[in-house]
């Protein structure tokens, strides 16, 4: 496991779509470094060959699929009541232009 850098945290913030100002970022770097140092005791575990099952699940390791049928959600309100911007049955968002830069 490696020592996390400020640039890596900035990259994670970008991947996670989080605006973080410089001052906050400066505080986060040592905290995340400390947490990663703490979790590095997992190095003692050899992950190779371990079963990748789901020991916390109750009685099955594969979740059942629902029947492929359309059922209306049971809603006690309208989507436009909770949406930040909603028009003619659509959620309205700002333009997509800058996403081309990614």
């Amino acid at each position: 496991m490696t020592d996390v850098t400020r640039a890596e945290i900035e990259r994670m913030a970008n991947l996670a779509r989080l605006d973080i100002d410089d001052e906050t970022l400066s505080g986060l770097v040592p905290q995340i470094r400390r947490i990663l140092e703490f979790v590095s005791r997992l190095d003692a575990i050899d992950a190779d060959g371990d079963r990748l099952e789901h020991p916390w699940l109750s009685e099955r390791t594969i979740l059942p699929l629902r029947r492929d049928e359309v059922r209306p959600p049971v809603l006690h309100g309208q989507l436009h009541d909770v949406a930040p911007a909603f028009r003619e049955g659509f959620f309205v968002v700002p333009r997509l232009e800058a996403m081309d830069d990614e």
């Binding site: 605006d19 986060l28 905290q31 997992l42 992950a47 309100g77 989507l79 909770v82 996403m99």
Partner: protein, 464 residues
Amino acid sequence: MSGLLGQAVELARRIEATRASGLNAAVTGLDHQVLTEQVARLERGPADASLRGLAVAVKDNICTLEFPTTCASTMLEGYRSPYEATAVERLKKAGAFIACKTNLDEFAMGSSTEHSIFGRTRHPEEPDRVPGGSSGGSVALVAAGAVDAALGSETGGSVRQPAAFCGVVGVKPTYGRVSRYGLVAFGSSLDQIGVVARSIEMAGRALATISGRDPRDATCADRPPVVLEPTPPDLRGVTIGVPREYFPPDLDEGVRAVGEWGIARLRDAGAAVRQVSLPHTSLAIPAYYVIAPAEASSNLARFDGVRYGLRVEREGADVHAMYRATRGTGFGPEVRRRILLGTYVLSAGYYEAYYGRAVAARARIADDFRDVFERGVDLLYAPTTPTTAFRAGERIDDPVSMYRSDAFVCPANLAGLPAVSVPVGRARGLPVGAQFIAPKFAEARMLAVASVLERLVDREQELA
């Protein structure tokens, strides 16, 4: 005034009293309209409903129709869910009053109920201390006597840890025992709705009401609700394992003394008590702080300013900038920290080193429990927390120190096992809890054994 109306008015008064006192456990009141609607619902319902007239508060990360659901976050400030959680729906069908919503660490990420847009919840006895978390509001409200029971949620011990700090009962069911439908997702492989009450009996009644299969949650077990067992006269024939890893040399002396006093009472009741080992216990917190943030980073991606909740949109900015501004503004420091951590441990080049190892550690922890239960141990008994309630502000700038307060509770979450914290006594004036951890779906037996201990102890007794 009808009996139910009188009860509801008195309930509203008690909740307001906790708000006025600065406890800061309830984040809503019970206003006149909600109160009268609920009275009308109960009057229409059967007079013999199992929880008729009982007041149940609901942690504010569980969806309700009567109140907003905010997760104590700017991201969901004022948000009203258009549907309600299965657990809440079942409480209402059983005749309960939904009393109010309760404070929590933002999105249930925390161990002290200090990370909340509503401000911190006080410990009900010592206001300069924390009630624990993240279900600190639910626990403090029950401990203060304002409600009969409350729903909390556990991802890594968030019901049992505060229950131990505040001297009440906290139950974490088997993963899959209670539907997660309507519980705002944090770590989906860990999350489970739990129950807080002042007695095992009341906690059991609430658990029996909310448990059972639900087609709206694919991870909910295809099993009927919990059927409670009567409290046995003694514990003859019951084997209780005490894991040595939960009594480490640096354990708080008061917690040790109360925990050992509880062991003596279990022996008095006729239980066979033997020491066992869960050798991978020390890996639980590191594994949890990889797996839970990883799942949170994915689950919380839905809060993007598009469909509901906060949107922060700057003049001329595109949709990508809107996402970043919304999420940067809407999430508080601990949530941001965990999203970044989760994104990091899942990113290319680090996935195997962190997430792969954490999942492997989780399997070993589950195997440890399975091994002791296969060797004839019926239940495990251990302290719930390494210390009593700590002072507010003491750990807020040191996340690892905060995380360590969950060292004894989070292994059961990783393994998906049921557990209950019971108040056993006091150390230096503060409540101390002990927990029973049981095999999957053994809640009824676990609660029956815990109720024997509950009967044998005086939770107010100063033991250290």
